[in-house]
Symmetry: C2
Amino acid sequence: MDERAALSLVGGLVSSAGDDAAVVDGTVVTIDMLHEATDFPGGTTRYTAGWRAVGASLSDVAAMGASASAAVAVYGAPDFDEDELTGFVDGASEVCERVDAEYVGGDLDGHDEFTVATAAIGDVDERIGRDGASPGERVVVTGTLGRSAAALRLFEAGEIERANDLFRFDPRVAAGRALGEHATAMMDSSDGLARSLHQLAEASDCGFEIEAGAVPVADELRGLADDPLDEAISFGEDFELVATVPADAVSGVEAACDVPVSVVGEVTESGVSMDGDELADRGWTH
Amino acid sequence: MDERAALSLVGGLVSSAGDDAAVVDGTVVTIDMLHEATDFPGGTTRYTAGWRAVGASLSDVAAMGASASAAVAVYGAPDFDEDELTGFVDGASEVCERVDAEYVGGDLDGHDEFTVATAAIGDVDERIGRDGASPGERVVVTGTLGRSAAALRLFEAGEIERANDLFRFDPRVAAGRALGEHATAMMDSSDGLARSLHQLAEASDCGFEIEAGAVPVADELRGLADDPLDEAISFGEDFELVATVPADAVSGVEAACDVPVSVVGEVTESGVSMDGDELADRGWTH
C-alpha cells in the first residue's frame, strides 16, 4: 500500500483524520515526524532542523485558522552533541517566538537516524477544514512558492548558508487567523500547490482553474531551476497557506494578512486545471 | 554527552522542561518517540505497539494529575501493510478509550526503522510537578511493577501472545486525577522506581526510605526473573504513577483510586535508601 492509500485507510478508521490538524473541544493538536534521509539534506544545521520541524507543526495549526500556543519536540539522534542540541532548541524556540507560541520542551531519543518528532497545539473557535469550497470563490496563496525547492538546489551546490536561510520559514499563523475569518477551505502547501488543490477539490467536491501568471513563484528559485513555475507548483515543502474565499472577501483578506496574498485562480465545478490545461496531481508524498 | 546530561542541558534552555509533560494555560501537552530497536521487541504486534506508544504519552498526561482529552501519532515504517496499520490504529484507539480520550489520527512517514511518535493533550487546573515532596510524607505507587520486565522475558521465550498482553497497560489517568487532589509530587515510573525516586529527590531536594516488602512486585514477574524485586525496582517501562502524599491523605487516596495503591515508603531529608541501604540510581535510560 502506498502512503496515500494508507492515509485513506486511516481516514476510514479515525473519524477526525483528514485535515492538517485535529480539533478537540476547541484545542488544535498536530504531530509530525521528519528525518535525515528524506527531510534534512546534507548541510542542514540543527538550528534549521529545529526551526523547520517545529515550524511544520505550527503550519498545520495555522492551516486550521487557529492561534498557536505551544510546541514540543523529540530529538532523536545517534549522539547528543552540546552544540547541535543547543542549536536545535534555539531554532525550535525562535520559530515559536515568531508566531507568539512557546517552545515547552520535549524529549530525547537515541536513534540511528537523525529523526525529529514535533507536536503543536493551538486554539480555534471555528475550524477551517478542507471541505467548504464552492464554485465561484477565489483561490489565494500566502507568500511565495518554491523557497524549499531553491534551498535544495543550494544545498546541492554547496551554498550551505543561503540554503539554510531559505529552508527556514515563518509559519503563517497570523495570516491563517486573518484568512480564517473568510476562508471556506484551507490547508498548507507542504505537499505542493498542485497536490493541495487536488486534495481540496476531493474534500470539497469541486474543481479549480489556476492562472499560471498569478502563481507567486519565489524569486530565489528563478535562475536555479529550468522551469521555476513547474517546481513552484509541484515541489512542495513550502508551508504557505492555500485557501478559498468568497470573491467579495478578497480585498479584506489582502488587507488583513501580514504577508502578501496572491489570488491564483477560482473554484470551479470540477477538474483541476491551469490556463485551461489539466493540472496533474503531482507533488510531495511525505 | 549521554542522554541524562543532554536532558539537563535542555532543561537549562527551556524553562518549562523537566516534568513528564508541559502545561500551557491549563492545557497539558507531551510528545514521545518509540522505535523498534529499543522499544518494540521482536513479536510485538502493531496493535500492542499502537496501544503502548499512545499509552506512554497518556501516562505522561496522567503524571501531571490531568485529564486526557486526545492523542495523535505518526506511524513511521518501511512499508504500509493494511493489517499492520489497522492493528496500530485499533490499539491506539483502544488505549484512548480506556482513559476517556479520543484518538484523533496523525500522520504516516516512510522510515527505515519502525518508529512511532505520539503526542497527547489534556487539561489540568493545578499541575502536579516533581518538586513538592516534603519529609514525613508517604510514597505511593499505583498497580504493580515489573509487568514490562516480565513481558520482555516472555518475548524472548517465544510466548508472544502472553508477552503482548503484558506489554499493554492502562494509563493511570483516573488514578492520577485522584492522586492529584493530594499529591505533592508525582511522575510516572517509566524509568523504573529507583530512578524515579532519584529524580523526585533531586527535584524536591529531599530523600526517600523505601520498604522492600511493600514494593508491589508484579505476580507475572515471579518465576521469570532471578530477582523479581530488583527488576521491579530498576527495569522500568511500567507506566505506573509514583507520588508523594501527606500521611493523613493516604486512606483517602486509596479509596479514591480505581487501582490498588501501595504505600512503599516515606519522604526523608536526603538520600534514597531501601530497608536502610542505599538504593542506587539505576534504571531505564530512554
